[in-house]
C-alpha cells in the first residue's frame, strides 16, 4: 500500500491562514446558531431552523410509512384477535421469538385460535417477516412505538391480550382493516 502525501503549498506551510480560516467557520456557525436560538426564545423567525440537532425526546423525527415498530394484533369486530394460530410467523421468525399455543375454537367457522401468543422482544430482530407471513391480516408492526424498557424478562414478553389492544400509528397503518372494524376485506381465509 502506498500512502500518498499532500505537499503543503507555501501559503499553507505558514499555518496562520489555515487556523484563521478554521476559526472563521466555527465562529460563523456559533454566531448563527446562537442568534437563531435566542431569536426562537423571543418568538422571532420560528420557520428558520437553528442547530441541526434534534431535541429528542421533546422533538421527534417523522417516521417512514414502512418503519417497523412494536407488534400489534389486528382485532375482529368483537375484539378477539384475528390470529388463527397458523404458526407461519413462528415458522418464519429467524430468531424464534414468537411462541404460539393453538387451541380449538368453539365456533367451527373459526376452528383454530391462539390460546397463548407470546412475542419475546428481547429476541426480536425487527425484521418484519412475521408481518409478511401472516395470511389473515392479524400481525402488524405499524404501531410506531419502540419497545419500552422493562425491569424483568416478563415485562418484555408481549402477550396477545396486550398486543390486541395496540393501535396502528395514524398514517402508517398497513392493514386494510382497521382494528375491530368492519368485515374482513383482504383475507384469503374469509375468517
Amino acid at each position: 500500500m502506498k500512502i500518498v502525501g499532500h505537499n503543503l503549498t507555501t501559503k499553507e506551510s505558514f499555518y496562520f491562514f489555515e487556523i484563521a480560516k478554521g476559526l472563521w467557520i466555527t465562529s460563523r456557525h456559533f454566531i448563527y446558531n446562537m442568534y437563531f436560538h435566542i431569536a426562537h426564545l423571543l418568538g422571532k423567525y420560528p420557520e428558520v431552523p437553528a442547530a441541526v440537532t434534534v431535541q429528542y425526546p421533546e422533538e421527534k423525527v417523522p417516521l417512514s410509512r414502512r418503519w417497523r415498530g412494536r407488534h400489534r394484533i389486528n382485532a375482529r369486530p368483537d375484539g378477539s384477535p384475528r390470529c388463527v394460530a397458523c404458526m407461519l410467523c413462528e415458522t418464519v421468525c429467524p430468531v424464534q421469538c414468537i411462541h404460539i399455543v393453538a387451541g380449538e375454537h368453539p365456533d367451527p367457522a373459526i376452528e383454530k385460535y391462539p390460546v397463548s401468543f407470546e412475542i419475546d422482544v428481547t429476541r426480536c430482530c425487527w425484521c418484519g417477516m412475521c408481518e409478511e407471513a401472516c395470511p389473515v391480516d392479524a400481525l402488524y408492526m405499524d404501531t410506531g412505538k419502540s419497545p419500552e424498557p422493562g425491569f424483568s424478562r416478563e415485562d418484555l414478553l408481549y402477550r396477545k391480550e396486550q398486543l390486541v389492544k395496540e393501535m396502528p400509528l395514524p398514517g402508517c397503518q398497513r392493514s386494510l382493516n382497521a382494528p375491530g372494524q368492519g368485515p374482513m376485506e383482504a383475507n384469503p381465509l374469509g375468517l
Binding site: 388463527v84 394460530a85 397458523c86 404458526m87 407461519l88 415458522t91 424464534q96 411462541h99 399455543v101 393453538a102 387451541g103 380449538e104 367451527p108 367457522a109 376452528e111 383454530k112 395470511p135 389473515v136 384469503p188 381465509l189
Partner: protein, 539 residues
C-alpha cells in the same frame, strides 16, 4: 411378463400390474388421490390420467393393467392439461384454509397444486358449505369441506378394519363423507385414516393443532406398543417451546414393512407415546430418605447401589439378589443386564416373566396380547428360567431370603398386586431403574432414571423372531440415561466390566456371545429388520 415403454423407458413387469405401479418401478410418480397400494381401486379422483398410444382417450393409470408393447406417456401437454383441470375442479369447493389445516405441508392436494396447476381460481360463485369439525368417534375429526371424496377412508374401514360405518352421502358437489346414523368409528385402526387421507379432511384429535407438520423431525423407530414390532416413524421437535410446553414427541406414524405391519399402525401403539414426556417421567436419580425421595446425582446413587449390592453378595451370597427386568427394554439393555448380574455378580434369580404379562387384548390384524416389544428378545437372551421365577422371588423377598431386588422398568405391583406390594416393602434394598414412576417405584430405595425407546439406540425382537432397530431421536429427558449405559457404569464399580460407549458395541458383543444373533450387525439388520434363525423348538 409384458414389456412396455413409459416415457421412453422400457420396463418389464408382472402380468396384471397397473400402469401406475409400473411407472413407480421406473421412479416416475403419477399423481393420485384415490389409489392406495393396499386398498381396492375405484377410479374416483381421475388424477392419475395418462396418455396411452392408440387409446382414444386418456386412461386412468391406477386401474388399467399393462399390456405387452404398450407405450405410455405421463407428461405430455394433454396429460398436464387434464391434471390441471381436475385440480381446478377439486379446488372449486375447497376452503383453502391451509394455514389452519393440520395436513398443510404433507398434503397431496397442496403438493399437486404447486407441481401441476399453479393457477388462480376462475370460480366466481359461492363455495358449497359443508359440515366442519364433525366428531367421527373417539379419535377422529372430519372436515367435509376439505374432502376430495377419494373414498380411501371408506374403503379402509370396510376392507382393512372390517367395520362398515363410514359412507359417502349426497351427490355431486354436495357429496360428503360421514358415519351412518347413530354410528361412530370404533375400530382400533382409526389413526390410519388420518395417514391415508390425502388432504386434511380427517385429522386425529390427538395431534390436532398441536404442531405444524413442517416443524417436526422424523426418525425411524419400532412401535413399542406390543410384541408385533410394527415399523413406525416418530415425529418429534427439538424446539422446546413448540406446541404444548414440554411436549417433544407428537405422533407415531407407520412405516411400510410387508413382513410385519404392511403399512398400518394400530391406535394402541400410535397413541401410546405419551409416557415419553409425561409428568411422571423419572428425570433425576433419587434416594429414599425416610418417607420421601431426595434428588441426588449419578455418582452418589451408583455408589450407593454398588455398595448395597456388594454388601448383600458378601453377606448372603448372590442368591439373595433378585432381578426383574422388563421386556420393554432393548436387546442391548437386557444383554448388558445379563452381563452385569450373571457374569459379574453370579446372580441366577433373573426372570422377566411376571404373571399376566401377555394378558392384554389382541386383535387379528396387528395388535398382540403381549404388550411388550421385546418379550422374544428377553427369552432368547435367557432372562427367564435360570433361577427362581418372578413370583417365587416375591415370596422369598417376603420371607427375607432375598434381600435385594433390582427392578428394571418392571412393575410387579401392577401384575401381582398387593402380595408384591407387601413383599417389596419388606425388601432390604429395592432398586428401581426405569422411565416412569409407578406403584413399585414408590417403594424403591434407589431410583435410577432410564431412557425411553426414542432416546436410545437398540434392537427389539418381535414375536416372530424378527430383529429390528430403534434409533435415537432425542436426548434422554433430564439426567436420564440409556439402561445399558447405567449397567456399564454400575458394572465398572462392581468388577471387571467392558466399557461400552455405544449401543452398537453392546450389540457386537451380544452377536458374538448369544446364538441367534451370531454374525449380525446394525448394518445387516437395516431399516426393515432381519429374521433371526431361531434354535429348534423355539420358533
Amino acid at each position: 411378463m409384458p414389456t412396455l415403454t413409459i416415457d421412453d423407458q422400457q420396463v418389464t413387469v408382472d402380468q396384471g400390474t397397473t400402469i401406475l405401479d409400473a411407472a413407480k418401478k421406473l421412479g416416475i410418480s403419477i399423481p393420485h388421490f384415490c389409489y392406495h397400494p393396499r386398498l381396492t381401486k375405484v377410479d374416483a379422483c381421475r388424477m392419475c390420467l395418462v396418455e396411452v398410444k392408440d387409446a382414444p382417450k386418456l386412461v386412468t393409470s391406477c386401474s388399467n393393467a399393462v399390456r405387452d408393447n404398450m407405450v405410455v406417456f405421463t407428461g405430455t401437454p394433454k396429460v398436464e392439461e387434464a391434471r390441471k383441470s381436475i385440480l381446478e375442479f377439486i379446488l372449486i369447493n375447497h376452503p383453502l384454509d391451509c394455514p389452519i389445516c393440520d395436513k398443510a405441508g404433507e398434503c397431496k392436494l397442496q403438493d399437486y397444486y404447486f407441481r401441476h396447476s399453479r393457477q388462480p381460481s376462475r370460480f366466481k360463485d359461492y363455495k358449497v358449505k359443508k359440515h366442519k369439525v364433525v366428531d367421527l368417534g373417539a379419535t377422529m375429526v372430519l372436515d367435509s369441506e376439505r374432502c376430495v371424496v377419494c373414498s380411501r377412508c371408506v374403503r379402509f374401514c370396510k376392507e382393512v378394519a372390517g367395520e362398515e360405518n363410514l359412507g359417502i352421502f349426497n351427490r355431486g358437489d354436495h357429496s360428503e363423507i360421514g358415519t351412518y346414523p347413530g354410528k361412530k368409528i370404533e375400530h382400533n385402526y382409526q389413526g390410519n385414516l388420518a395417514d391415508i387421507c390425502p388432504v386434511g379432511a380427517l385429522t386425529a384429535k390427538d395431534f390436532r393443532f398441536k404442531c405444524r407438520s413442517w416443524l417436526l423431525c422424523k426418525v425411524d423407530t419400532i412401535c413399542p406398543g406390543c410384541s408385533n414390532g410394527c415399523n413406525a416413524v416418530v415425529h418429534f421437535t427439538l424446539r422446546s417451546f413448540d406446541g404444548i410446553k414440554g411436549q417433544r414427541v407428537f405422533r407415531l406414524t407407520p412405516r411400510e414393512n410387508n413382513d410385519v405391519n404392511k403399512i398400518w399402525l394400530c391406535d394402541v401403539g400410535r397413541w401410546g407415546y405419551s409416557f415419553i414426556d409425561s409428568i411422571d417421567r423419572l428425570t433425576t436419580p433419587a434416594l429414599k430418605k425416610g418417607e420421601d425421595f431426595v434428588k441426588s446425582d449419578w455418582d452418589t446413587v451408583l455408589r450407593e447401589t454398588a455398595s448395597g449390592l456388594k454388601t448383600v453378595v458378601e453377606r448372603y451370597g448372590p442368591s439373595a439378589i433378585g432381578v426383574i427386568p422388563s421386556p420393554h427394554l432393548t436387546n442391548e439393555d437386557l444383554y448388558a443386564l445379563k452381563c452385569l448380574f450373571s457374569c459379574v455378580l453370579k446372580v441366577t434369580n433373573i426372570d422377566f416373566k411376571l404373571p399376566g404379562l401377555d394378558k392384554g387384548e389382541g386383535d387379528k390384524l396387528l395388535l398382540k396380547a403381549d404388550r411388550h416389544p421385546n418379550t422374544r428378545g428377553a427369552e432368547l437372551l435367557g432372562l427367564s428360567g435360570t433361577g427362581l421365577s418372578a413370583e417365587a422371588m416375591m415370596e422369598k423377598v417376603k420371607t427375607g431370603e432375598i434381600k435385594a431386588l433390582y427392578l428394571v422398568g418392571s412393575d410387579p405391583v401392577k401384575y401381582i398386586g398387593e402380595k408384591a406390594e407387601e413383599a417389596l416393602s419388606r425388601a432390604e434394598l429395592l432398586i428401581f431403574q426405569g422411565t416412569n414412576f409407578n406403584a413399585s417405584c414408590k417403594l424403591a430405595h434407589v431410583i435410577l432414571p432410564g431412557a425411553t425407546f426414542v432416546e436410545k439406540e437398540g434392537t427389539f425382537t418381535n414375536y416372530q423372531g424378527r430383529l429390528q432397530r430403534i434409533n435415537k431421536a432425542l436426548e434422554p429427558l433430564g439426567e436420564a440415561q440409556a439402561d445399558w449405559e447405567i449397567f456399564t457404569r454400575l458394572g465398572k464399580r462392581l468388577g471387571s466390566y467392558p466399557s461400552y460407549k455405544y449401543a452398537e458395541e453392546v450389540f457386537k458383543d451380544m452377536a458374538r456371545e448369544v446364538a441367534p444373533f451370531t454374525g449380525l450387525s446394525y448394518q445387516k439388520i437395516g431399516p426393515q429388520g432381519i429374521k433371526l434363525t431361531l434354535p429348534e423348538g423355539k420358533s
